[in-house]
Every structure is written in C-alpha cells, then in structure tokens.
C-alpha cells in the first residue's frame, strides 16, 4: 500500500466533525433514523481510529526525534502574535490519539445499546462526535491557543452531555456546575498563556520549549507562576483539589458519557498538559512539588470519600478523581512516561468499570421499568447477587477491579507501581516525596478496599432488587458486552505496554516517549531507586492491595444490607464520608452564597437599581425635566413680557458693547 502523506493528519479530527454535522442535522430535523445515526456516529469513530492507527504506524517508521508540525492556515496573525492552525504529531500525541479514538470508538459502540430507547438518540451521538473532535484538537494542537480551543470545546461538550437529560433540574444544575468550576481553571490556563507570550513572544510548543531554558531563570518566580497557573487549569479540567467537586456531580450524564469524558479522556487532559509542558515544570521545583502534592492529597482524599458512597457511579467518580491524583504524582515527580502509562491503563480499566456499571444500571433500570417501581437503579443497596444475572459483566468488572487495585499482572499494577516507585526514588533527594509516597500507598489500600466493596455489594450476596423485579434482570445485548470484552482484554494485557526492566521488560512506552521527555529529563534527571528497594516497593504495593481486598472480604457483610429505601441513615464518621467531608456545603457557604449575596444585594439591588438606574438614568431625566420646567415658565404667551425681556437684553448687550 502506498504511504499516505502524514499531512493528511487533519482527516482524523475531521471525521468525527463530519459525524457531528450529519447527526446534528438529523437531530435538528427530528428524523428518527436510528440506523443512519448509529452508522454515522460509530462509523466515523472507527474510521478515525483506523486513520489514527495508520498515521501512528507511519510516524513510528520515521523514528523522528522531533515533532512533526503541519501548519494548515494562519489563524491569528496579529502583529507579533502569529498563531497558525497547526497540528503536531509526536510520540506523546500519538499515544493520546490512539487512546482517544480507540476507547472512544468502543464507547460509541456501547452507546448504541445503552441509548437505544432514548428519544434524543441523534442528539446524543452528535454531541459525542463533537466531543471526540475537540478532544483530538486538544491532543493534536501544536500551540497553546489551538490546544485551548480543544480544551474549551471538550468543556462545552461535557456540559452538554452532563445535562443531556436536561428536563430534570438536578441534571441541568450538574452541567452548570461543571462548566462554572472549569471556568476557574480556564482562567489559570489563559493567564499562563499570557505570561508565556509576554516572555517568549510565541505560543507554539516547539518554539516555547526550545526557548524556555534560556528565557526563564530556573526555579525563578515567573516560571513558577506559569506552572502554577497551568496547573490551576489542570485542577479544573482533571478534577483535583480544590476544583474536583464538579466531577462526582457530572455522573448525572448518561453512563457511556461518564466513561468516555469523565474517566477515560477529557479529565486526563490536565495530565497530558503537564506532560506536554514537562520542560516548564522541570524548571520549577516548586511547581512540580505542588503538582505531585496536590495529586497525592487528592488521591487519598477522594479515596476516603469513595469508601462510603452508595451510588455505584459515584464510587467510580471518586475513584477517577483518586486515580487522576496518581497521574499527577507521576508527572509532578518528573516520571512523565509513568504518568502517561497510568493514563492509558486507567482509560482501559476505568472505561471498563464505567461501561460495566452502565450495563448493571441498564439491567436494573429495565427491571424497575418493567414493574413500574421507582427505586434508585444506581444504588448498590438495591443490587446484590447480580453476578448470577450478568455473568459477563461481573467477570469483566472483576478484571478491572483487580487492575485498579494493583494486583499483578493486570495493567494497573504496572502503572501504579511505576508512579509510586518514581515518587519513592525522588524522595531520596527531596524528603517531602516520602509524604507523597505515603499518601499514594494509603490511597492504594483504600482503592483496593472500596473497589472490592463495590463488587461485593453489586454482584455478590443475596439479591435486594425486589422479588418481582428479579425476573427481569438479564445480561445486556452483545453490542454492549463486546466493547466490555475488548476493554477487558486491554486491561489484562495493557501492562505489557511498559513492563519495566525490573521484570525483564523493555519499558516500551518509556522508550517510545523518550524523544518527548528527553528535554525535561535533561533539566531534571530522573532518579532511580536501587533494584533491592524496587523489589521491596513492589512487594509493599502488592501486599497493600491484597490487604485492602482481604479486609473488604472480611469486614463487609453484603447479607446484612437492606434496600435503599429501608436503610437507616449513616452516623458518625460514616456520615462524614457519605456526605463527602461536607466540602460541597463548605464551598456553598464560603464561595457560592457570598457570591450570590454580592451579586443580588450589592451589584443588582445597590449598584444597578440604585446607582445606575436611580441616580444616573432617572437622575439625568429629572435634571432635564427641571430645566425644561424653568424654561417653560419663561414662555408666558404674553407679548408684553417678551418685549420687556427683549429690551432688557438689548440694553444689556449695548451696555456691554459701550463699556
């Protein structure tokens, strides 16, 4: 086959855009052509995956040490600011390209089954295609502004899809929350962009990273400010403390959306950004420490909340926040390959977990629908024993659970172990990393516990769905289980991407990413632990994971659970965790209410109503009317008065002239 020119890279994002155009038109015209929508929506994604695969294979054959940049048109030629619409293919964006299109395609296939009954079928696929388009722009953009277009675009699609069932107030509110919280992060991204342009005069990745080493004094205030503002953007998009609160609420969207956007792809954009800007972060020890520290704190904090959630999707949501924290420990430590590795494996097993939960919710929903019951189809207290009815889903979710818990040889074991190993090695030079490592390993313990809890309560023990409903529980159609199967295989084998030399592997992903991470590694040489230490760390990690699972098996009694509507309220620490440490209430009291108060009582009632409307607008009118009243009193209608005034005026003018 003749090699296609790589400059055709634009085809990859263009395909989902085409799908969006077609499905959007179908949605607007109200055509109920489900087969057409499915073929277009899924077909464009499969084609995009094929095109991405071709491009990456061709790129790999080049062994190019530098990124390939394709400039398509001048986008913002404004004086010194020259921004071209350019796409960039390098080893990092190649990995992201495959993850986004690959996992995206599987989730699209799953959606065919999950959304079959939904009246907004075409609209759903239009949004989903648009999301993939923006995500591809994000990972392929060759400059900060182009990336920012994708960054904002995925935020928009996230908003649209969280509020997909917008006729329930809670869903619309969740969408708004996600959008507004992300605005705060976007502000950080913008300020970082301005600072970079101010000092370097360019926003193209290649130019910025080439000049960064000379333009900024290492460890200086400016580079630290830039990295911290960039990281503020990451905390918004990737749901880290303090901006993580939107992600659990985002579970109001359809479950495949949670899998695609809020687990596998969009929320990892922050990790990608830090890895992409590795050169900048490597120059700022403070910035890197903040990234790793916030990541570690988030990993632990979110894991504690996940311990006591009852909604199956919320457990997974907090688990996602926690796992994203791990990725930030990785990239904050300078182990960019490890961070990206965990990003990829997490995309596999978390997409599998979410789609599996989608399959469970689908079954539960259908069962309750069949008997017209109004119980919560997502509450684990209403499940139990589902392994008998959904054997495939249960088996595949167990694979993913073992992976996320860090049991060898599943994918999550290798990636998590590498991050923790890198953090421990870093601690020999900077002791604060001992704390980060400690938080990470504690979070690993909690992860193993809450994931086992989820599995036990959902799939094992007696069934609590209800006697009549039980007959309607059944496995999802093949169009939903097939993507699960593929993801299960990836979860099983994904670790093979990057088996470290310790286990006799070649660290393929690390080698592959070396051209991208070389510059950052040069500025901040990664530390290696001794082989003995590494073995000890591996043993500790596996032990902790096994301990977490064992504890869950011993301590939890699925048989003692009662259905949600009969359950007693939580008390004590359990209530604190169930209420998510009252962070939402805290934000509400400290930020939301004061802002509302200032907006309503100060800005609206005082400034707008009193000052602007009262004094400025009505005041002007009142002064004009008073002057008009005085003027109108002069118009008496008596000619005599006019003449007197006229004569007085003439005499005054004459008197002035004579003098």
């Amino acid at each position: 086959m003749p090699a296609l020119p790589l400059s055709l890279l634009w085809v990859v994002p263009a395909l989902p855009l085409l799908g969006f155009a077609v499905n959007g038109t179908l949605a607007l015209t109200g055509t109920r052509a489900r087969p057409v929508v499915s073929v277009v929506g899924v077909g464009t994604l499969l084609l995009a995956f094929a095109a991405a695969g071709l491009a990456v294979v061709e790129f790999a054959a080049l062994h190019s040490p530098a990124p390939l940049v394709f400039r398509y048109w001048e986008w913002l030629p404004v004086g010194e600011l020259q921004v071209a619409f350019a796409l960039q293919l390098d080893q990092l964006s190649a990995v992201m390209l495959l993850v986004v299109t690959g996992v995206g395609a599987l989730i699209h296939v799953f959606s065919i089954g999950y959304m079959r009954e939904d009246p907004g079928y075409a609209r759903y696929f239009a949004y989903l295609n648009l999301f993939v388009f923006f995500m591809l722009i994000l990972v392929l953009g060759a400059s900060f502004p182009v990336m920012f277009v994708g960054w904002e675009g995925v935020g928009l699609c996230s908003y649209l899809l969280i509020g997909f069932w917008f006729n329930a107030q809670i869903n619309a509110d969740a969408g708004k929350k996600a959008f507004i919280v992300n605005r705060i992060g976007d502000f950080g991204f913008l300020v970082a962009m301005f600072l970079i342009f101010w000092r370097i005069g360019s926003l193209d990745f290649v130019a910025v990273f080439a000049k960064a080493a000379t333009a900024f004094p290492p460890g200086g205030a400016l580079i630290t400010a830039i990295t911290l503002f960039l990281f503020l953007g990451c905390t918004g998009k990737s749901a880290q403390i303090p901006l993580y609160t939107w992600l659990p609420d985002a579970m109001q969207g359809p479950t495949p959306v949670s899998a695609l956007i809020h687990a596998a792809t969009m929320v990892t954009a922050g990790v990608y950004l830090v890895a992409r800007c590795g050169v900048l972060f490597a120059m700022s020890p403070t910035g890197s420490a903040v990234v790793a520290g916030v990541g570690a704190l988030t990993a632990l904090f979110a894991a504690t909340i996940a311990l006591k959630q009852w909604d199956i999707k919320r457990v997974l949501a907090y688990s996602t926040v926690s796992q994203l924290g791990y990725m930030f420990i990785g990239v904050g430590t300078g182990a960019y390959a490890a961070g990206i590795f965990h990003l990829a494996t997490h995309a596999f097993f978390k997409a599998l977990l979410f789609l599996g939960s989608g399959s469970v919710i689908h079954a539960m929903h259908q069962a309750y629908h069949a008997t017209h019951a109004h119980d919560d189809a997502q509450d684990m207290r209403n499940m139990g024993g589902l392994a008998r009815y959904l054997p495939w889903t249960a088996a595949l979710m167990w694979v993913a659970t073992l992976a996320i818990a860090g049991i060898p040889p599943f994918a999550g074991f290798f990636s998590k172990d590498e991050i923790l190993g890198a953090a421990f090695a870093e601690a020999t030079a900077r002791p604060i990393w001992y704390a980060f490592w400690g938080m990470g390993i504690t979070a690993a313990l909690l992860t193993a516990f809450y994931m086992t809890r989820l599995m036990l309560y959902t799939f094992h023990g007696p069934n609590r769905t209800g006697d009549r409903e039980r007959e309607h529980l059944h496995e999802a159609p093949w169009v939903m289980t097939a993507p699960l199967l593929v993801l299960g295989v990836l979860t099983l084998l994904g670790g093979g991407l990057n088996i470290p030399p310790l286990f006799g592997g070649g660290a393929l992903l690390e080698q592959w990413l070396a051209p991208v991470t070389a510059a950052a590694d040069q500025l901040r040489p990664p530390l290696e632990a001794a082989a003995g230490t590494e073995w000890a760390l591996v043993a500790a990690a596996v032990l902790v994971a096994a301990l977490g699972m064992f504890a869950a098996f011993r301590l939890l009694k699925p048989a003692a659970l009662v259905p949600a509507r009969l359950a007693p309220p939580e008390t004590g620490l359990a209530r604190l965790l169930w209420k998510k440490w009252y962070v939402d209430e805290l934000y509400d009291a400290v930020i939301v209410r004061p802002v509302m108060w200032v907006s309503r009582d100060v800005l609206w009632k005082l400034v707008d109503n009193r000052l602007v409307d009262g004094w400025l607008v009505n005041g002007t009118a009142a002064v004009s009317r008073a002057l008009g009243w005085v003027g109108s009193r002069l118009q008496t209608g008596e000619v005599g008065t006019y003449v007197v005034l006229f004569v007085i005026g003439v005499l005054a003018v004459l008197g002035a002239a004579v003098r």
């Binding site: 003027g631 109108s632 009193r633 002069l634 118009q635 008496t636 209608g637 008596e638 000619v639 005599g640 003449v643 007197v644 004569v647």
Partner: protein, 98 residues
C-alpha cells in the same frame, strides 16, 4: 449741519416707540409704535448720511420697503385675529405658551 438735534429727535422718537410697545396692549397701537421706531432709525440714517456718504440714504429705502411689507403682512394677521376673536387686545391673545 444740525447733526446733534437730528439725532436727539430720532432718539426721542425711538424711545417713544419703545415705551409705546411696552405699555400699550392694543395690537394696532403697538404696530404703529414699531413704525415709529423704524422711522426714528430712518431719521438717524439720513442725518448721518450727510457726513458718511450716500449709503445711509439708500438704506432708508430698504427700510421703507420692508416696513411696507411688514405692514401688509402684520395688518392681515391682525385682521384675521380680529375676525376670529373680536378683539386685538394682546392680553387676551396668549395661547402660545409653555
């Protein structure tokens, strides 16, 4: 030649005209007082023309022409007002006011 007395007479005439306009209420009388003022000005023009050239005398003719036109229009208006309201007393004609 006799410039001073001529100007004095015209000033007196003009003052009489102004006073008439100010104090009288009958439109016809006011109109006549305006004519008086115009003619006082004419006298000034003619008197000064003795020393300053023929321009003043020529201007008098313009003033006369304008005064004639004004008389025609003004009397016509007054006639119309009288037909409408049976009076030309200005105290009663004060509709146009603020």
């Amino acid at each position: 030649m006799l410039l001073g007395p001529s100007l004095t007479v015209s000033a007196v005439l003009f003052a009489l005209g102004v006073a008439g306009v100010l104090v009288r209420r009958n439109a016809i009388v006011i109109f006549m007082c305006v004519e008086l003022m115009l003619n006082a000005v004419n006298l000034t023009f003619v008197a000064l023309a003795q020393d300053l050239g023929v321009g003043g005398q020529i201007f008098v003719f313009f003033v006369m022409a304008v005064a004639a036109a004004e008389a025609a229009v003004g009397l016509a208006i007054m006639l119309a007002i009288y037909r409408h309201r049976q009076t030309v007393d200005l105290r009663n004609i004060n509709l146009l006011k603020g």
